[in-house]
């Protein structure tokens, strides 16, 4: 039994492999970018708007509100990165119900790449908001004794981010595969429904955790500013 879409190799030349994960990821990106371009080509500011615009507006406004709730302000700065993560993971998880589609998030390489993006984004915004010294001081936070724990926590949470998404999506596909051979008529449908639910929740969790990690690195200064503003 194949546990990841990495195992389907269409074309190989030496170390270069062209497998199902890459194909499906690019198809995903094409559909998402193409669909958005199609909708945003004719935007209207009046009360009459197309269905697509309505959908995208709900999505973007909802994501911006969630990001502000977590404490990342202004949401416009963070929306492109976090929103892309959420929409990409959500889209690939939801399309997993289409027969023959293999969710790219069910491959450890995709999820590791996404987690690596978060791993880079945390110091990026931390340094942007605090400066290099201020960001590095965060590692000594409660006391310098905690330095190794902070560094190890940074690494282990990246690993956890990747393995969590991979494990959840892969187990969904796996359970359906096993049930198909045990009780083929009815149960796989129910498990597929459960897989849909898990896919949505995991996309949400992935984006929220990324937001929380970034907020932990970028927020302290903001609180200080707000305090200063209330005093002054």
């Amino acid at each position: 039994m194949e546990i990841t879409p990495d195992a389907f190799i269409y074309w190989q030349h030496g170390a270069l492999k062209f497998n199902a994960t890459i194909l499906v990821t690019w198809l995903n990106m094409l559909v998402l970018a193409g669909g958005s371009a199609l909708v945003t080509a004719r935007l209207s500011t009046g009360e009459r708007m197309s269905r697509g615009q309505n959908l995208l507006e709900i999505l973007v406004v909802g994501m911006a509100r969630e990001i502000e709730d977590i404490g990342l302000r202004p949401a416009r700065d963070f929306l492109p990165f976090l929103g892309t993560l959420f929409v990409f993971v959500l889209f690939s998880n939801l399309l997993a119900v289409v027969p023959g589609y293999r969710a790219p998030t069910g491959s450890l390489s995709t999820t590791t790449a996404l987690a690596a993006c978060v791993f880079v984004a945390v110091p990026w915004w931390g340094i942007k908001r605090h400066g290099l010294r201020g960001y590095l001081r965060l590692y000594l936070q409660p006391s310098p004794l905690m330095l190794p724990f902070n560094i190890f926590g940074e690494l282990s949470r990246t690993l956890a981010l990747a393995v969590r998404l991979f494990g959840n999506i892969m187990s969904g596909a796996m359970i359906v595969g096993i049930l198909l051979s045990v009780a083929p008529l009815f149960f796989p449908v129910i498990m597929n429904l459960l897989g849909l639910l898990i896919g949505v929740i995991q996309a949400y969790i992935f984006a929220v955790l990324a937001a929380v990690y970034i907020a932990a690195a970028a927020r302290v200064q903001q609180e200080r500013e707000e305090k200063g503003a209330s005093h002054g």
């Binding site: 546990i3 969630e66 709730d69 393995v163 969590r164």
Partner: protein, 93 residues
């Protein structure tokens, strides 16, 4: 029994043990977290958004230990490194 047989027995046995024991802790923890969140929701329905988000994030954290166990189980059964090693040793000579 040869070494290949021992590897198979140990892999299957420890795979079952791994996922079985590994599911207990997170299940108890998640149940507790959910119960607390429900009572918090009943007391403060206005804070539903914050409570639900924190619940999801916390549950994802708790759940990750179970996911680790699951991944290790999958590796033991489907991608066992020792299996290929001993297979090559006995088959390839």
């Amino acid at each position: 029994m040869d070494s290949l047989g021992w590897v198979a027995v140990a892999s299957i046995f420890s795979a079952g043990l791994c996922i079985g024991l590994g599911a207990i802790g997170p299940a108890l923890g998640e149940g507790r977290a959910l119960a607390q969140a429900l009572s918090a929701l009943a007391q403060q329905p206005d804070e539903a958004n914050t409570i639900t988000r924190t619940l999801f994030v916390g549950m994802a954290m708790v759940e990750s230990t179970a996911i680790y166990c699951f991944v290790v189980t999958m590796i033991l059964i489907f991608a066992n490194p020792f299996w290929n090693y001993f297979l090559g040793k006995t088959g390839g000579g």
